[in-house]
């Protein structure tokens, strides 16, 4: 077995397990946990385009999740436009806002950019909490929006069971992973990497760093907003504090950093490591000791940053390399 064959086999096995999983799991609760895991992995992959490849630290990405959710839901509730179309509309709105906000801020150094994104996200959240009607659009202020049940309907993006949601987010995740893989190997990826590490050096070689960063920002915001629509349709209810709050923004960044910033597998590994931990400690510990699950969360964050500052992907891929070598060499078929 050659190395390439091994990689492919494992990828196929992984895909088969992922697509077959709903057949094995009956409990909708567990399925929901896995759906949210994929949702976070998806969001983090989208975040990674800016946070990983472009080398800045966006700390307010939840705002684009919110823009996606609000756009598609307002269009659906008031104009009866299918959320699938609303999803794309939300993506376009988010990308436009991302460009407006990115244009002046992406030039700044790390700390300033992080603070700007926080301030923008919090500012927009406070605004939405204060606005009941934005022109003709009903936003409902702090109460949030409720999507009425329409029964099983693909056009209305509503399903009575969890499986369809599972497959939708799984396919979205696969697509975004393929997209980041493609970007990381393309010219854009190399330009972004160069601009993230040494903007001056990259610029002196004729790379327009600012434009590529802006492009990454637009793509990232677009993809993030798509997940916002998904979330709205999955939960059928959302409110500004829950969806646009800093908690979600920070969790996305944490998953990326623990998994490995700027790697393709990082978001998935980070989500696999953090989400179940988060869910189970919250379910089992928060009754007796409120806050313990977040103490554990913070400690893990500190420990990973202390011992694996590049994230968990680096040591895991080293282990994989070694295993792969052990499996492929004794086979004797050297190619």
């Amino acid at each position: 077995m050659t190395r390439k064959q091994l990689d492919r086999t494992l990828l196929c096995v992984g895909a088969a397990v992922a697509f077959g999983l709903p057949q094995l799991i009956d409990s909708p609760t567990y399925l929901q946990i896995i759906i949210l895991l994929f949702f976070y992995a998806y969001l983090t992959s989208a975040w990674n385009l800016v946070g990983g490849f472009a080398g800045v630290l966006p700390m307010g990405h939840a705002v684009f999740v919110g823009i996606g959710a609000y756009t598609s839901t307002v269009l659906f509730l008031q104009y009866n436009i299918s959320p699938w179309i609303g999803m794309l509309a939300g993506g376009v709105v988010a990308a436009a806002i991302g460009v407006i906000i990115g244009k002046p801020t992406l030039k700044m150094r790390g700390a300033y950019f992080a603070l700007c994104t926080i301030a923008f996200a919090e500012g927009l959240r406070v605004m939405i909490e204060n606005i009941d009607m934005l022109g003709p659009f009903k936003l409902n202020g702090p109460r949030g929006l409720l999507i009425p049940l329409k029964g099983d309907s693909l056009a209305a993006f509503q399903f009575m069971h969890k499986e369809p949601y599972y497959y939708i987010i799984l396919i979205m995740l696969c697509l975004v992973l393929a997209f980041t893989w493609f970007i990381s190997r393309s010219k854009i990826g190399y330009y972004l990497g160069a601009g993230g590490e040494e903007p001056e050096a990259a610029e002196s070689l004729g790379v327009n760093v600012a434009n590529y960063k802006l492009l990454a920002m637009a793509m990232s915001c677009f993809l993030t907003a798509l997940a916002g629509t998904f979330y709205a349709q999955l939960m059928l209810y959302f409110y500004p504090k829950g969806l646009l709050g800093l908690d979600l923004s920070f969790e996305i960044a944490f998953i990326a950093l623990i998994g490995g910033r700027g790697t393709i597998a990082g978001p998935v590994i980070g989500a696999l490591a953090l989400r179940p931990l988060n869910e189970f400690t919250r379910i089992y510990l928060s009754d007796q000791l409120p806050g313990l699950h977040l103490v554990i969360f913070g400690l893990i964050l500190i420990l990973v940053m202390l011992f694996q500052p590049k994230g968990l992907t680096a040591p895991l891929s080293r282990i994989y390399e070694r295993l792969a070598q052990a499996i492929t060499t004794p086979g004797g078929e050297k190619s």
Binding site: L57, P104, T105, M108, R109, G110, A111, Y112, A114, L115, C116, I118, A119, F120, E122, G123, V126, M127, E129, N130, F250, A253, F254, L257, L289, P290, G291, L292, L294, V295, F297, G298, L299, L301, I302, M305, L306, P309
Partner: protein
């Protein structure tokens, strides 16, 4: 007119205290080039320390100013030495280490939720000798605890300014903030300087805790309220600038209190964010910012 004077006075006093909460943040950033996300949590630690001290002993809140800040200095010094320094060392070559920001966020989560586990989520207040007292100045009524907080904030800022200007440690702090490598070559142990900077920043959060506690309540996530505001203030004043922090604080305080005359307080919050973004678009270095930092 008197309502306007009243809100200007209130805004200035509250703003100076916001400035005080931002002072430690700006000091730590100036020297280490790290945005300390745990700063609000350090303020919360300072507030709880002052709360328990005043609650148990019933002493005058001014006396607590002699006890809480030194304790917090030690706390911050060792927090930096044991938790943050190792990460800092692994990112030596980077001017603005992002991993360190994440570590401070971890510290924030741990501290806030440890407080939640230990003390519960309820809002606590303590009655001190100056709580609820006030004096009048013409038509304007001034609350004593806020006035005291204003004076202490100003004294702390001036004290820190003089410390940075006159003492050897202060000079070492400034040298490290200007150029890490050069300072190192001059025989300054940069990691010790970082410990001192972090300790001082934490001690100032302790001062803020002592002056806020006589008129405000404390609860585990109280830091977040001040934290976001402190971030805005430091960017407004210029990251790393001591007078900038106080001036930025006063500006935010006045905007908040005067706009509150015309609209609900949730809208004033939105307006502060709006003004903040406008400043970033047009003058990102703030009032006194160092150009190379942004």
């Amino acid at each position: 007119m008197s309502a306007l004077y009243q809100s200007l006075v209130n805004g200035t006093m509250m703003g100076a205290m916001y400035g005080l909460t931002a002072l430690g943040l700006t000091l730590i950033f100036g020297v280490m080039k790290v945005v300390n996300f745990a700063h609000g949590s350090l303020l919360m630690v300072g507030m709880f320390a002052a709360y328990w001290l005043l609650k148990i002993t019933g002493m005058h809140p001014f006396l607590a100013l002699l006890i809480v800040p030194p304790l917090l200095f030690v706390f911050g010094y060792y927090l930096q030495d044991l938790v943050i320094k190792p990460v800092f060392k692994s990112e030596r070559g980077v001017r603005e280490p992002l991993t360190v920001i994440i570590v401070t966020t971890g510290v924030w989560y741990v501290l806030d939720n440890l407080a939640l586990m230990l003390f519960g989520a309820e809002y606590r207040t303590v009655r001190t000798a100056i709580s609820g007292t006030s004096f009048s100045m013409g038509e304007v009524i001034v609350s004593w605890p806020k006035f005291a907080g204003f004076v202490v904030s100003m004294l702390t800022a001036v004290g820190l300014w003089l410390f940075m200007l006159k003492t050897r440690t202060g000079k070492a702090l400034r040298a490290t903030s200007m150029d890490r490598e050069a300072a190192n070559l001059m025989g300054i142990d940069q990691y010790k300087i970082y410990n001192v900077a972090f300790g001082l920043g934490t001690a100032i959060a302790g001062v803020a805790g002592c002056v806020i506690i006589p008129f405000y309540y404390v609860y585990p996530s109280v830091g977040v309220v001040f934290d976001i505001r402190a971030f805005i203030i430091v960017v407004l004043g210029g990251l790393g600038s001591i007078p900038g922090a106080i001036l930025g604080g006063v500006v935010i305080g006045i905007i908040e209190s005067t706009f509150a005359q015309f609209m609900t307080s949730t809208w004033t919050e939105a307006i502060i964010y709006g003004i903040f973004l406008l400043i970033l678009f047009f003058k990102p270095s703030g009032f006194f910012g160092n150009k190379q930092d942004w």
